[in-house]
Symmetry: C2
Subunit: 232 residues, 2 copies
Amino acid sequence: MRPSDLPEIRHLPLFSEMLQANFEQLMQGAYAQNFPAGVELIHQGDPADFLHIVVEGAVELFAEWGGQSCTMALVQPVGTFILAACIKDAPYLMSARTLEKSRIILIPAPDLRAVFRRDPEFAVSTINELAGCYRAVVRHAKGLKLRSSRERVAAYLVKHLRRVAPRQCFDLPVEKRLIASYLGMTPENLSRTLRLLEADGVTVLGTRVTVTDYARLAAVAQPDPLLDGPDP
Amino acid sequence: MRPSDLPEIRHLPLFSEMLQANFEQLMQGAYAQNFPAGVELIHQGDPADFLHIVVEGAVELFAEWGGQSCTMALVQPVGTFILAACIKDAPYLMSARTLEKSRIILIPAPDLRAVFRRDPEFAVSTINELAGCYRAVVRHAKGLKLRSSRERVAAYLVKHLRRVAPRQCFDLPVEKRLIASYLGMTPENLSRTLRLLEADGVTVLGTRVTVTDYARLAAVAQPDPLLDGPDP
DNA sequence: CGTCGACTTGAACACTTTCAAACAAAGTGG
DNA sequence: CCACTTTGTTTGAAAGTGTTCAAGTCGACG
């Protein structure tokens, strides 16, 4: 593990409140690893051995069933994934693969479970982290069930627009096929939907998204903190 | 609060491990309330004031957006709901209504947050509860994205069949329109799908489900612990 | 017995996927 | 540096899936 990794991890909400001694012990059992793009880090159904932390790169969480697969989430630095499986000592529900060259920290699940039994602050942080993850998936499920695909695409664009603040254009963070899968549709359908949304104040050329009429796009998406997450 | 309520609550995984003194304190601030069927207990977007525990009856968690609504989960005795919102002190993501005459225990959210900062065992139980909730929603989302509506219906039937053990018939626990909404489809579509599934070893008359060929139904559903939950 | 809501059924419609093909962009090897 | 492969994207047409609307049936409850 590189010395520069530690402060970044330490500042994550999950680890920032715990005792230094416990943090150090957790990190003692941990190790870092570099992966090229396209590596399957974990496979759904496998026993949960390590909490993963993405320090550099990007990781896709996806699910498979009956020969299909769909992306469930995107984890970017600095972020953790599959906390819940580690806690429950249960099989992973999702698989994970690197989308780019990535640097991952691995913390043994038993260490994790041992430490939060000892460090109340870490326990509270874990509770908050899990509650946040839970709410994120609930919002995702709500979007799938309540919005049409056109509305989901519009909401996705609006959400990312707000992250880049008042600027009127941005680049899609990942391939369109992944966005399509995340939004529960085929790449073809996403492509067509983006074309149709040109009538609603947004243009997509390659990975570049340009908004010409935010109000109009927002009218399609009807952004809602209960579906799209809090404003930041 | 009735004296008979306490032992039931105490035996919930969430509360069974905590110190008696802390449990008693938590219950001191709590109160019970009886509701008729069809009452909206909480509305999405409202601030999270109370952890709810269903002691008798049944509660539907549902979400609304853009004039539509969909059921997200069903809570039956003895079960809790909206733990995550209470923890994060954030707005409810879902609304809740009683499906039958129900008895609900309400625990003030601030009490909850205070106690798990003090009682490590309760913190650990909370962590486990949240991790379980998270995994349940992930499975639900996976089902929505990976299975067709026919497969979802078949899986729903298989799942409930296993709960009633080797018996070959059971009654649907709730109205079909709720099941349809839970499975992300219209009542009409569910009705037709059930009719079509008669070719696959299952017959539904009213609320009565009779399985004539389990293997065949299971072949349609392809039940999978990563989507349908663990075997019990 | 009548009313209301839930359920079913049919037909038309809308939306989404699938399949096939063409195009574009990125990376590989000569 | 340029063909060349590979992979992602776009587009069209056909097929499939799911929804909507409308009407009718059934059963529970007052």
